[in-house]
Every structure is written in structure tokens, then in C-alpha cells.
């Protein structure tokens, strides 16, 4: 049972983020995951160059430690 608790604690350390990427200039923005988004979804225009912005990646990464 300790194993179950340890796994749950480990899981809580991760958060899901999405990486938006501009298909023209390659600018990347890391944001919180919004439900309904998926990799390949067009989410608007790049603020820097006006190119197409798509969801390039959705992944779980370790939460940064609170200082």
C-alpha cells in the first residue's frame, strides 16, 4: 500500500503543459494545457511574425519547486 501512496505523490509532481510553436519563425510559447487542445491544432497567429501558431506538443513535466 505504501507503493500506491508513493506513486500518487510522484504523480502530483507533474503538470501538463502545451508548447505552441510558430510555423514561420519557430517561436515557442509554453502554456498551461487547455482541455480540448491537441497537437496540430491551429491556435492563432504569432505575435512576432504573424505566422500560424499551432500546438506543437502537450506533455507532462515536473512542477518547478516553490521557493
Amino acid at each position: 500500500m505504501r507503493l500506491v501512496q508513493a506513486k500518487q505523490r510522484e504523480e502530483e509532481k507533474f503538470e501538463i503543459v502545451e508548447v505552441l510553436k510558430c510555423m514561420s519563425c519557430g517561436e515557442e510559447i509554453v502554456d498551461r494545457f487547455r482541455e480540448g487542445d491537441y497537437v496540430g491544432k491551429a491556435v492563432g497567429k504569432c505575435k512576432r511574425c504573424g505566422g500560424d501558431l499551432i500546438v506543437y506538443s502537450i506533455n507532462a513535466r515536473r512542477r518547478e519547486r516553490q521557493s
Binding site: M1, L3, V4, K7, E11, F14, I16, M23, F33, E35, G36, Y38, V39, G40, K41, S57, I58, N59, A60, R61, R62
Partner: protein, 374 residues
């Protein structure tokens, strides 16, 4: 005095002998009851996890129904979920193994359709395809969790009925692994409920990233049911990229797609990219390349792809990204996402090294495409 000492010594020896005899005769029984208690504790934990998963899935389906304006009454939804969780898929007989792959394919396709129909009927056709597909996977996970619990209970009750120490002993030492599998499946529900890519999505993700990098000739189109393909160009080669249709939870019909492509083109190489279970001690996210078809499952698609490629003498290259079972079915970890970039470079290198300008190459992104569109 000497006699008294001798007397007490003899009594103590007899007492020890009786105690020793009791321990020898009943130690197995004592151990049996200890194991019984331990197994019961594991089963209680499993019961708790499966019930929690059932409630999670119930609430998810209920909220989806509400979102699409469908009135799914609680008893109806619970009844449907219990029916699906209890459903069985019976493998075909292998008394005559000839044609068994076709039979497997037929049964698995039918099972897939049955489950999709059951889920569709909850939302009365109002929910989009990807939402229905994700909900289908939630119910599938629930079905597997229920099956694990049923099996464990079966052996526990059998061991108790026949007072089988050995059966209980084996069960006790298998239970931590089974409990871990149940907990992992429970955590997988979160990823599929939210529709985020999982570790197993690295194949379709590699396919999609290759599509972004290569010169596009045609966009992705559904060439067979649940499977899309796009034609691209890379360093003078025509590259056909194949993956399951996303972003719903779907693994596609990759063998059927490949058969169709082989009828239309004359490929000089087939490259499959998939997640592979790492061995303990191997590093998650390491990329390996090799020969053969990188594809999991019970082997139907693997058999068919090997058959098509062998009949045309087309070499099969494989690229695999190593990960644990847990990583394969839970939300895609960032280091696996980085491994996808490495897999993309590996595919490019294989294309450049083993094919010539003017050749046609097929790249297949194998795996569940949940959260990965096209």
C-alpha cells in the same frame, strides 16, 4: 535436590517438545492465515481503486453528456458501464490454425465497433468522434481493471475454499505487481479523459512532426477507416506518412493502410516508429533503431505488414522509443517528447542512408494517437 533439579529439567524438556510439535504441525496453518489477511488487504485496496475508477469514469461520461446536452440518467449510465465492464472478447479457436490471423482481425474489429456503438449510444450521436473514442478507451481501461480484480478474487476464494497454501502464497507475491498495474491503469484514465497524448503516442507524434518538417505534397487524408496518410517530399524521395486518425484515442488500421499504399505505389522501404517497453535498467526515452516491424498488440497487424512487405521484398526498418509500461499509458512525459525529436532525426537518417532519390518510402507512426491530430 539433585532429583528435584532433574525433575524440572525433564518437565521443561517435555514442554519444549510439545511447543516444538505444535509449531511444526501448525506453522503452515498460521502462515496460511497470515497470508490470507495480507491478500485480503490487497484486495480491499484493489476494490477501492476499481470503485474510484468507476466513479471517475461515471463522472467524466456524465459531464460529457451534459456538455453536449444529452440527458443520461444515472441508472442508465451505471447499467451501461457495468455491462461494458463485464463484457468479454472471446478469442477464436486455434484447433485449425489456418487463417487464424484473419479471424483475430475480424473479432477485434467487431469488438472495437461494439464498444464504440455502446459509447455512442450514451451520447445519442451528439458528441464528436474524438470525444466518443476517448470515452471508449475509458471504458476499455475500466474493463481491464475489473478483469484484474475478478481474477484476483477468483484465486483468493479458490485458495480459501480448498485451504490451498501454495495458491495463496503465489497470489500474495504476485499481488504487488497486479496492484501496481491497476493503479497505473487508474492514472491512465486522467490522460484519456482530458485527451492528452500518452507515452504510446510517440509514434503518431513522430509521424506528425515529420509531416511538419518535410515538403508537403498532399495533406493528411483518411485512406482507410481510422487511418490517415499524407504525401511529402524529403531530399528527392517521396515519403508517405501514415498514422491513426486523431486526435481521439485510436490506433488505426495500419496494415490495411499499408496494403492500399502498396497497391498504389512501389515503396522501397517501410519505416515503423513505435513505443517499446524498456527493460529494467534501460533509460526511458532512449531511441533504438533496427530491422522489423515495430508494432505491439496481439500480432495481427504485424503479421499482415510483414506479409505485404515480404511479398514485395521491401526492407522493414524500425525505430523505437523505450519507456516503462506506466509511461506508455499515462500523460506523455517531457523527456519522451524530446525523444520524439531524436526519433525524427533517426527516421531522416534511415531514409537518406537506405534509399535513393526518386524512391518512395513509407513511414508509419504506430500507437495510440490520443491528443495528436493531423
Amino acid at each position: 535436590m539433585f532429583n528435584a533439579f532433574q525433575q524440572s529439567d525433564i518437565t521443561s524438556w517435555i514442554a519444549w517438545l510439545i511447543l516444538f510439535t505444535i509449531l511444526v504441525l501448525f506453522s503452515r496453518s498460521l502462515e496460511y492465515y497470515r497470508l490470507l489477511l495480507e491478500v485480503k488487504k490487497f484486495i480491499d485496496q484493489m476494490n477501492y481503486s476499481v470503485n474510484a475508477a468507476f466513479n471517475d469514469v461515471f463522472n467524466t461520461l456524465k459531464s460529457i453528456a451534459r456538455r453536449f446536452g444529452v440527458d443520461a440518467a444515472d441508472p442508465f449510465l451505471r447499467g451501461k458501464m457495468l455491462r461494458v465492464a463485464d463484457s468479454v472478447v472471446i478469442s477464436p479457436t486455434d484447433l485449425d490454425p489456418f487463417g487464424i490471423v484473419e479471424k483475430y482481425k475480424h473479432i477485434l474489429t467487431s469488438a472495437d465497433r461494439y464498444l464504440l456503438e455502446e459509447v455512442s449510444s450514451i451520447f445519442k450521436g451528439k458528441a464528436p468522434r474524438e470525444v466518443v473514442e476517448n470515452a471508449r478507451t475509458l471504458l476499455e481501461i475500466l474493463r481491464v481493471m475489473t478483469l484484474y480484480l475478478k481474477m484476483v478474487k477468483h484465486y483468493y476464494i479458490t485458495a480459501r475454499r480448498y485451504k490451498s497454501y501454495m495458491l495463496l502464497f503465489q497470489l500474495r507475491y504476485l499481488l504487488p505487481q497486479i496492484l501496481e498495474a491497476i493503479e497505473t491503469l487508474k492514472r491512465a484514465l486522467t490522460a484519456f479523459a482530458k485527451g492528452v497524448p500518452v507515452g504510446d503516442s510517440v509514434g503518431p507524434l513522430t509521424a506528425f512532426r515529420l509531416y511538419l518538417r518535410f515538403k508537403k505534397v498532399t495533406p493528411f487524408r483518411e485512406i482507410v477507416e481510422d487511418t490517415v496518410a499524407a504525401e511529402t517530399e524529403f531530399e528527392g524521395r517521396r515519403v508517405i506518412i501514415v498514422k491513426a486518425r486523431g486526435p481521439g484515442s485510436n490506433v488505426g488500421r495500419l496494415d490495411d493502410a499499408l496494403e492500399k499504399i502498396f497497391n498504389l505505389y512501389d515503396p522501397k522501404a517501410v519505416i515503423t516508429v513505435d513505443a517499446a517497453l524498456k527493460l529494467e535498467g534501460e533509460i526511458s526515452g532512449s531511441v533504438a533503431e533496427g530491422i522489423g516491424v515495430a508494432i505491439g498488440g496481439i500480432g495481427v497487424e504485424k503479421f499482415n505488414i510483414e506479409k505485404i512487405a515480404t511479398s514485395r521484398r521491401v526492407p522493414l526498418y524500425a525505430v523505437v522509443i523505450k519507456m516503462s509500461e506506466e509511461e506508455a499509458i499515462t500523460a506523455l512525459r517531457d523527456y519522451l517528447d524530446r525523444a520524439v525529436e531524436l526519433a525524427v532525426r533517426t527516421v531522416e537518417r534511415i531514409i537518406l542512408r537506405y534509399t535513393n532519390k526518386g524512391d518512395t518510402v513509407v513511414v508509419v507512426g504506430v500507437g495510440n494517437t490520443v491528443g495528436v491530430g493531423q
